[in-house]
């Protein structure tokens, strides 16, 4: 498997990917897609964090199956990831990330993906990571609801360690929900940024 990935990515890059530790905070529409993309790329270890269980209302945009309803998202996603990348290391935490436990849960992660649904939780994680984990990169997301053009889902650098994906304004509200392809585009932008950071392709 490693050789197959080395043949496609080049040996040096694949070795970098296989040594990487990346945290995914929130395993919904963004996080489940980010984790799958990173597992396919042959990342070494993912830290998966979500307190929630798979619900029937998640299946329209999140990478779970009807047979997984009721499982913790961490468990369900771990099953799916192991079928894609059997040798990936997974560290699962089925609990809510708070200002108190965040440093412990994210220990060892060089890149942290913010993939929450709630705006206040997004801001909390962003501020806490940037204030308290000075060596980590944060790749966050804001604005991917509705059926606006996918071309508006972009990624940009806010600070040296803080990247933001999304259109910046499309929020979930009455009559404007989340649609799989637009959420996937945003999650894909986040996963691609992770790979670009690991490859040293982003501005230092």
């Amino acid at each position: 498997m490693q050789l197959a990935l080395e043949a496609r990515h080049g040996k040096a890059l694949q070795q970098r990917f296989s040594q990487a530790v990346v945290a995914v905070c929130g395993l919904g529409g963004l996080g489940s897609n980010i984790a799958i993309a990173l597992a396919r790329a042959g990342l070494g270890k993912l830290i998966l964090i979500d307190f929630d269980r798979v619900d029937i209302t998640n299946l329209h945009r999140q990478q779970y199956k009807a047979s997984q309803i009721g499982l913790y998202k961490t468990e369900a996603l771990a099953e799916n990831l192991k079928e894609i990348s059997p040798y990936i290391q997974l560290e699962c935490h089925s609990e809510r990330i708070t200002e108190e436990n965040l440093e412990e849960l994210l220990r060892g992660a060089e890149i942290i993906c913010e993939a929450f649904d709630d705006a206040e939780a997004k801001a909390m994680l962003t501020n806490a990571v940037l204030e308290r984990l000075p060596d980590a990169y944060l790749v966050a997301a804001s604005g991917m609801a509705g059926l606006g053009s996918g071309n508006a889902i972009r990624s940009r650098r806010i600070t040296k360690r803080f990247y933001l994906c999304g259109d910046g304004h499309s929020q979930v509200e009455e009559g404007s929900g989340l649609f799989a392809p637009r959420v996937m585009l945003c999650g894909a932008q986040q996963a691609l940024l992770v790979l670009r950071l690991l490859a040293g392709l982003e501005e230092a």
């Binding site: 649904d117 801001a123 204030e131 804001s142 604005g143 600070t159 304004h169 499309s170 959420v183």
Partner: protein, 64 residues
């Protein structure tokens, strides 16, 4: 003059907290970058805006 989210404003001497209080931003949903560094939330009141500052306020919206 200083820039906030690309707009030139004459706010030198005001604190970041004072500026935010006069806007529609929800303090629980934002992160503030000033000249390439995040401003810790606890320091909004004592962070004085200065001429030449470049500030970006990221206001998160729900969905994920």
């Amino acid at each position: 003059m200083l820039k906030i989210n690309g707009e030139s404003l004459d706010l030198a001497g005001k604190s970041l907290a004072e500026y935010l209080a006069g806007t529609d931003y929800d303090p629980k949903r934002i992160a503030v970058e000033r000249n390439g560094e995040i401003v810790p939330k606890a320091l909004y009141a004592e962070t004085l805006l200065a001429d030449g500052d470049s500030i970006e306020i990221v206001s998160f919206v729900g969905g994920g």
